[in-house]
């Protein structure tokens, strides 16, 4: 029988299947962070058990950490406790840990790939829904709850039932100014926030094939935002070249050997999916969200939908302080956040720097640019991106999850509108009462310069007449 890539990886990792029941599913790589692991370690210790495979675990502190003055102790005592508990647990169980102060610390979904711990064909879990990011390397990668973190700590396995398979094909060349973030926001807007619940997605087609690993990670990262268990892209030369450049990835003959195996990780040509979606790249415009879930997105030139019967829409727009039928172009913003596991990699910072070079941040906008890891920060400094930001009136901060989820000091105040490259625009996600608009790093930095939602120059030229008619 012809198999999808997901089927192949699934079959390779099934240890045993219970009759009419779930499979014991083997996990190659387990990432952990400070928020969803303490109760799991506690559970293990209460049962008097050891960590089964400590060498397959990588830990870092990211959700709670400050993004300024990281050399100082964490101010919030609860945050400090969670971080120090992670430190203790890693020391006690011999787990590789990149704490604050390490030259490789950062957001777990940024450091795993860039250090070469995420490799094609792996099964990867973390107590974090954006673990789907690692699917960009051709992995079955997905977020789990704390009970499951404990299961993996104790057995390196989970009990799983196989999800359905969906393929999303995007073909063709993207328009200038349309980034991978726009592609995934377009897909989520098309499917809805629960449109892929019960499925594992494969992204295929020439548009994804042409993307860098950073771009692919942005796409796979947001798979969960349409409810998918995860999303993956078949590994190819782009993947292998990226891995060759990582610090701890395989090298030389070992890499060559692995590439032979990895090259076979593809969906068979006539394999059948439970659902297929096809999109032409040329139909995708820069995207923004207007509501309170990531499925509520429109292209930047469109108006907010108006349906007086839709209570969810009314509730969302009430929270956002927006009106049905309104255009978001020209809307003033208070905050701009460029960062998070979705868009904090070096390419994202380069895009922001290239746009902002020689321009100035609007005076009444607060702009936070937060690299995803110490390595990204180091690279940005080496390329002088921090100086470009500084000249534009923006200070580059230090690595962490930052304003993605209001667990650390970086919170958006109540009622303020933030255009954000993160992944969720839920009520209160960036702070109590904060209003979030999701967008690409290019759209976000354009807003920082103009002080309002605006398109990047290339896009403006392309759609000049459309914009003029809307802002009249």
């Amino acid at each position: 029988m012809k198999k999808t890539l997901f089927d192949k990886l699934w079959d390779m990792h099934v240890v045993k299947t219970f009759d009419n029941g779930p499979s014991v599913f083997y996990i190659d790589r387990h990432y952990i962070h400070e928020v969803t692991s303490p109760q799991a370690f506690k559970g293990l210790e209460d049962k008097g058990l050891e960590v089964f495979r400590p060498n397959q675990i990588i830990a870092t502190a990211d959700h709670n950490v400050p993004t300024l003055n990281q050399e100082l102790p964490i101010k919030d005592p609860l945050s400090a406790t969670q971080v120090s508990m992670l430190t203790d647990n890693c020391n006690k169980h011999g787990i590789k840990y990149y704490p604050l102060g390490s030259e490789y610390q950062g957001i777990v979904h940024v450091i795993g790939p860039e250090l070469g711990f995420t490799l094609p064909g792996m099964t990867i879990v973390c107590g974090d829904s954006h673990t789907s990011t690692h699917g960009a390397f051709g992995c079955i990668a997905f977020g789990i709850g704390t009970s499951q973190v404990e299961q993996v700590l104790a057995s390196q396995c989970l009990l799983l039932s196989k999800p359905k398979r969906m393929r999303i094909k995007v073909d063709g060349k993207l328009k200038q100014g349309v980034l991978s973030k726009d592609v995934i926001l377009h897909i989520i807007a098309k499917l809805g926030t629960g449109g892929a619940t019960g499925y594992f997605v494969e992204y295929a087609g020439t548009t994804f094939e042409a993307m860098s690993m950073e771009e692919r990670m942005t796409v796979c990262n947001m798979s969960i935002e349409m409810g998918a268990r995860g999303g993956l892209i078949a590994p190819d030369q782009t993947t292998f070249d990226y891995i060759a450049s990582t610090l701890y990835g395989p090298k030389g003959a070992e890499l060559e050997d692995k590439v032979k195996h990895w090259s076979s990780l593809k969906t068979d040509s006539d394999a059948v999916f439970d659902k297929e979606i096809h999109i032409e790249a040329a139909t995708i415009e820069p995207m923004i969200t207007y509501g309170t879930n990531p499925g509520m997105g429109i292209n930047i030139f469109d108006q907010i939908p108006s349906d007086s019967q839709d209570n969810e829409l009314a509730k969302s727009l009430n929270y956002m302080g927006l009106k049905p039928g309104e255009s978001l172009l020209g809307k003033s913003v208070d905050y701009v956040f460029i960062g998070s596991c979705t868009n904090s990699r070096i390419e994202d910072l380069r895009i922001a720097a290239e746009y902002v070079k020689g321009k100035q941040k609007a005076a009444d906008v607060t702009c936070w640019i937060v690299p995803g890891s110490k390595l990204v920060e180091k690279q940005a400094i080496a390329e002088g991106l921090d100086k470009i930001f500084q000249e534009a009136g923006i200070k580059m901060r230090q690595p962490g999850c930052s304003a993605c989820l209001a667990m650390n000091d970086d919170k958006i105040p109540e009622g303020k509108l933030c255009i954000s490259t993160s992944n969720r625009n839920f009520e209160g996600r960036q702070g109590q009462g904060a209003r979030t608009i999701l967008a690409s790093p290019l759209t976000a930095i354009a807003a920082a310069v103009h002080g309002k939602i605006w398109t990047a120059d290339a896009a403006i030229e392309r759609n000049q007449s459309k914009i003029e008619s809307q802002s009249r």
Partner: protein
């Protein structure tokens, strides 16, 4: 984990679609290192205006009580935080009814003795309307029979057979995996990739 089979109770209606786990328990309450006490911050930002109870939110409406939460479509989407399931259970709910649950939330709920019951949109609407019309509407759930009933209506719901067995017996997945560790070691030794 406590066993679950039959639940008979009135229900609390929350007919909102796509309730994400950030609403169920906001991130600022995830800083605890234990599993206890999350119920007091369940739906915190819908339940309170500042430090005052929001009288318009259903958990503050004395008309409604019971240990069955009757929610809207795609309940529990977003973050994988198990704290959401802990909070709902800690508050006192033992079942959540919806026409669809987000996958991670559904798994987390069942790992904590909270029964997610997936029903048709039509049944969900009828049940919600029945509770709003008569808040003392009695809802009967039998996990064994996979039925949920109120007034003269009933619905046969699907549930994974293995998960059902775990919930009925109060067993956790963890115990099965621990028993498998020799088989898992064998798998590791025999891998060829």
């Amino acid at each position: 984990m406590e066993k679950i089979n039959k639940i008979q109770s009135s229900g609390v209606p929350l007919p909102i679609e796509h309730v994400d786990t950030d609403q169920i328990i906001p991130a600022r309450f995830l800083k605890s290192t234990s599993k206890e006490g999350f119920g007091e911050n369940l739906f915190r930002d819908w339940r309170y205006n500042g430090s005052n109870a929001n009288p318009d939110f259903v958990l503050n409406d004395s008309k409604y009580s019971g240990n069955i939460l009757v929610a809207g479509h795609n309940f529990g989407c977003g973050s994988s935080r198990e704290h959401a399931a802990w909070a709902i259970h800690d508050y006192g709910f033992r079942a959540v009814v919806s026409s669809e649950f987000a996958d991670i939330f559904k798994g987390n709920a069942m790992n904590n003795g909270l029964l997610p019951i997936e029903v048709s949109s039509a049944f969900l609407q009828e049940l919600t309307e029945a509770i709003i019309t008569n808040p003392s509407t009695s809802i009967s759930i039998s996990l064994e029979d996979q039925t949920i009933a109120f007034d003269d209506k009933d619905y046969q719901f699907d549930i994974d057979g293995f998960k059902k067995k775990c919930l009925l017996e109060g067993k956790v997945e963890f115990d099965y995996l621990i028993d498998m560790r020799d088989t898992i070691k064998e798998y590791e030794q025999n891998r060829t990739f």
